[in-house]
Symmetry: C6
Subunit: 287 residues, 6 copies
């Protein structure tokens, strides 16, 4: 399993780092090539969008590889990647930065978006629809021809570097009337659809990440596909590639395949006993 070593905080260095609190953009560079298997023209589209300075939206279900794809592209483009997991309490200030009292002075600390804009990094706002509305509006002037970031608290306008690119993710399965991106936001992005990888590549991914036998990997993917078909029968969301990998990891460590699937697949995706029984049956016919 490829680990993304962003920076390894060692105990003895920690206190200094804490004092200095220097925000180094270099910390956001991806050191090792992330494992990613392209399944369509998403790599070309991303490169072209980046060259055209057009922002991009990744549409797709949870755990199908969107985050990994962005890491892969950041590595390919040799650019730092700043990822922000959005949530209901994320405000514009969390993205832009804020004043902090330090000794006797107030100092400005750049937020992740400001950092990316200034240094020409990729900025990935994961599940942006979860964020508070002011966040969505903050990205508007960055996503049209102006490509600027006004920081009202400082009375400052920052023009994005050419390398800067905004990426957002969006899971259409989740959206309700209450939580949807406004058209005036959506129409600022080109939008690439993601889905679970097809059988062949998904088995390859599972095997690569878990070291299980080809047979087991194929079996897990087959289970995944059959469960995803249950979605039309009341399952909230299909099983992610990530969970298939979890199951593979447990099997590889000696857990019986059915027990591994019970805790890595059946229990995580549903609390409904009826549905659990159906999934267990799928598992037991295949593994």
């Amino acid at each position: 399993m490829t680990f993304l070593k962003i920076f390894n905080l060692k105990e003895d260095h920690m206190s200094e780092t804490h004092k200095g609190q220097e925000q180094s953009i270099e910390d956001y560079r991806i050191q090792h090539p992330p494992y990613y298997l392209p399944v369509g023209d998403e790599v070309t589209l991303f490169r072209t969008a980046h060259e055209s300075r057009v922002p991009i939206m990744l549409k797709g279900p949870t755990g199908c590889g969107k985050t990994r794809f962005v890491e892969y592209m950041a590595y390919q483009l040799k650019l730092p990647l700043i990822t922000v997991a959005c949530h209901e309490d994320l405000t514009a200030s969390d993205l832009l930065g804020r004043y902090l009292l330090k000794g006797e002075e107030t100092v400005w600390v750049d937020g992740p978006l400001t950092l990316a804009v200034k240094h020409g990094a990729l900025c990935y706002l994961d599940e942006v629809v979860e964020a508070r509305k002011d966040t969505t509006v903050v990205i508007h002037p960055l996503t049209d021809a102006r490509r600027i970031l006004p920081i009202e608290k400082k009375g400052q306008i920052i023009e994005a570097r050419d390398e800067f690119m905004l990426i957002i993710s969006y899971n259409p399965g989740y959206q309700s009337a209450l939580k949807d991106l406004k058209q005036s936001t959506k129409q600022r992005f080109i939008s690439v659809e993601f889905n679970y990888p097809p059988g062949e590549p998904e088995a390859e991914i599972v095997q690569h990440e878990t070291q299980v036998s080809k047979e087991i990997a194929k079996g897990l993917v087959k289970i995944g596909q059959k469960i995803r078909n249950l979605k039309h029968y009341g399952l909230e969301e299909g099983v992610s590639t990530r969970l298939l990998i979890y199951a593979g990891q447990l099997i590889q460590k000696g857990i019986h395949p059915r027990n591994a699937c019970e805790v890595a697949i059946v229990q995580p995706i549903t609390d409904d006993e009826e549905m659990q029984r159906s999934i267990r049956e799928i598992v037991s016919t295949i593994l």
Copy 2:
């Protein structure tokens, strides 16, 4: 593509600029003539309203050129333009300014509206209906014969300079009962309606911004028009000129037109599979 160079923050100058934090109104001057193609008498109306010191409201759908029009007018009138993208958490203080602790003293930092009022700039409140209600009320004394801005926190009243003008935008398609401007606000503005440009000028715009062939530009606009007609069949909002430009940019960079339209038009404007199919058909009959 014309880039609006407001000011280019260079790394080496940045730290100084940060220290000084001088809010210079000159930063808000538009340096290069923005590309804008007038389609009616909006330019004359804007000029007359400015001369009569009457505030103006721009009504229209997303991505049809309202922001560009305001930039164009600011350039024509040789006035700085301060744009505020309104959102649910925008308070009156965000517009007026606030006290900040600096060293041992509390200093007042003007908000964007105060800056504009003092220096006689254009102030553009984009999607003002999204802002909190106190914001709407703050603009009342600026939009009648008084043309004053009371800053209660400072016990001060500022009379607007003659050049100052307030512009707000408003998308009638969005408004619900909960989020509508009050009549006591609406009746303080003259109101100009905007829409997507007619076929000829829109093709000219797409071509100017993307450098695609006239034929491709015309094709994209034709697609745009046909999609906009779908609005009566359940499409939330028509496709914006901006998205047509995105498609053109991708095509110009070598992406196949249908793929370009898929990611720049089909995916951004709808998640509905049925609707996506209809739009794909429109695309494939034209390009």
Copy 3:
């Protein structure tokens, strides 16, 4: 058009004024006689209420002259006028004042109501029903025989000067069950009803404010009256005198009367296409 010069903040004086931050009640004196045409006994009633130290409520639709009337009375009574546009986030502290950190000391800064109470000014709370509930309660002890303002944060009670008078405005057309003044508040005010001026005086006002010909002025007023009759056919609120003046200003500057009415009347008061057509017809039969 008569401009109310409260004080003209000149660039070169600004920094000093900012430093001192002296709240001078003199800044709230109205320098030039505001143009106001009495239409009933409102002037006498206001004077008598002021003499009897009874607070007053002005009831009526938007843009019919309530604010101008209060300015007129302030000028007549030679008293300063402090106006507060109320909104959903206006708290009692915004009216009363608050402690601010200044250098090493906390200093108290009087709010607009406290200022008015201490100096015997008129205090006009515009659309008081919009304010938060604590605001409404703050004015209770000022509006009965006690005429006192307790400032709990300072443990202080201020007795109002004899010249002090509280004026509130209220638009009955707006009120819903959720947003209504409580009887225990309403029954503390005498209440004068306002409405659009009758045809003759309204034409006089339009002409005075815009310099259009008598004929145009009469035409605009006739349009206004016909539109106000549409209120029973679904129009949210009639057209205000202010909008008629806007239309006149545009016509006087050379805009074609129908275009002027389109942007100053049709577009501001409704987004409903059906209703817009009806109003356009009214306009075209008269101008």
Copy 4:
């Protein structure tokens, strides 16, 4: 009209008083005997409750004399009176006190309830049901045998002086399911019902407060009584004695009785045109 001179803040003394910010309980003493006409055994009950150290609740409609009665009792008992008009944003801290930064030190400033408890004053919480729930709970240990006020922020418990008495008012006509005192609060008070005074005393009050002729006073009271009967026909609340006094004051200053009743009675109590006509008819048959 008897004015309650609590303390007259003179301009020249103001700055000093502001500096010192001494909370003197003497400021809360009522200097002149308030005019109050007892209508039942309320005076005896109040005295007995005070002797028995039992808190009291005054139930009744707006403007019927509850506040005046409390002032009268405070004067009779020679005790200071601290009145707090409760509202939706009134918190426990507003009543108890809070820490304030003063120069380099944090100092505690007693709230009105703490002041009353320490100095043995009467504390009158007007419309307590409007306050936030924490306020209601703060008074619990003061209203049972313990008679203590725990100030958690200071880790302190203050036992009430014997003279201290808590009085709350409550308007049963207002209460909804959402806004009602809990039984665990109600059952801590003895409760005296108030209503508009009977005809004879009410006319005496109106005459005393306005100096109108006995005939006019009687006429106004008769109008009041007839309007109060309309309550069963959809009027939200009857007309208060206060409004009758307002009408009398205007008449005394020369306003025609019908005009005085229009602005002091008809307009304040209802916006319903039908209801206004009925009230006008009552007025015109009597005055």
Copy 5:
């Protein structure tokens, strides 16, 4: 009537006490034996729970003696008692403590729960269901085998002294779906039911607290019992022992028994006129 003298804050000592702000646990000791008449095995159960270090919940209606019982047990066990009246705005920090700025340093001030945990006091959270949810969760680790109080703000874990005991009260009559203790909270307490005392002891209590004659005391209790039976006919809650004592106190001071019952019983428990008549009838047949 037995008064609980926790500490008597004398004017002359006050300023010093204020400066020092020492939170002495001794202030929470009960000086005089509270009057309490046991009606079941509640005393033994409380003692056993205390010995077993099991927390206890007291279930029952308002004013039936829960608070007095806890005071009685604290006195019997010779332990300090810290009572917190819970309310909707009570946060975990209010219980645990918080940092306060003092001169140039931030000092930590223990909240009531922390004080009790550290010093082995009884901590009584009255109507805990009213508190905010974080409060309920704060007590979880204190109410299982761990008996610890983690103070996250200080990164500290405090183990409760053996004498510490948590007591909560709960009125099942009040609970709605929205406001109920979670099972994961309820199942952490043994739970003792309280109710109004039976006739004999209740008369004894009333007599003890008011000094009225045995006959009057018995009459008041009889009235109480009959009113409590009305609960099935729409009365929100029965009359508390406390109100019977209030009535007795007024009678003892010379108020006519029916008047005393009117203000101490009829008016406090209901605003419904029908219900008031029924209660008055009960009163007049007995006293």
Copy 6:
């Protein structure tokens, strides 16, 4: 009964500890082996998940041993355990840490999650679904291949130590539509189901924790099982092992078994009188 001695705060050491405020990870080590009786393969699964660096979710009802299991595993793995009881007001900052003013400097204080990530501890978020949404999102990058904790306020990214493991608990019986973990969170954990222990082991646990006779222990467990069957007849949740232990403790201290079951079982789990009767019957047939 085994007490978990995390650290025993002695009075005399307290003031120092307070000054220093050193957050020592050693304080979170479990000193004595917690008593836990494994009932399935949960121990192996936990160990494997820990080795595979896969986070774990424990699903099950209140009081069935989830917390004790985590303590047991922490002791077995010789790792510190940081437990956070989640609640509605728990924010991301509560987990991550915050800046505190200390003397003249602002110092950062690590939150419990940061502490665990840095030092390779187990971090147990109890009832994570109760926390605010930002909390849930904070754990996302910790629960995929990245295993990083971005602390946006410090512009820092901390990579988790290999020993670090995240454990969350979740009670499926509680979840409503409003309060459920998102699939994008659930699918990041393997998930082990917990339930009340089977009869034999549960009796063993009760006996071990209370020292009652085997017979009494078996009786209590039998009562527990019969009550749990009532869940299908309207009981909100079954009786927990914890309550059975409470009952045993009271019996052991000499309380009559039926009285012990009344206060430890009947009263805590339901307020419904009908249901209480049924449970009492179960109790009286067995003990």
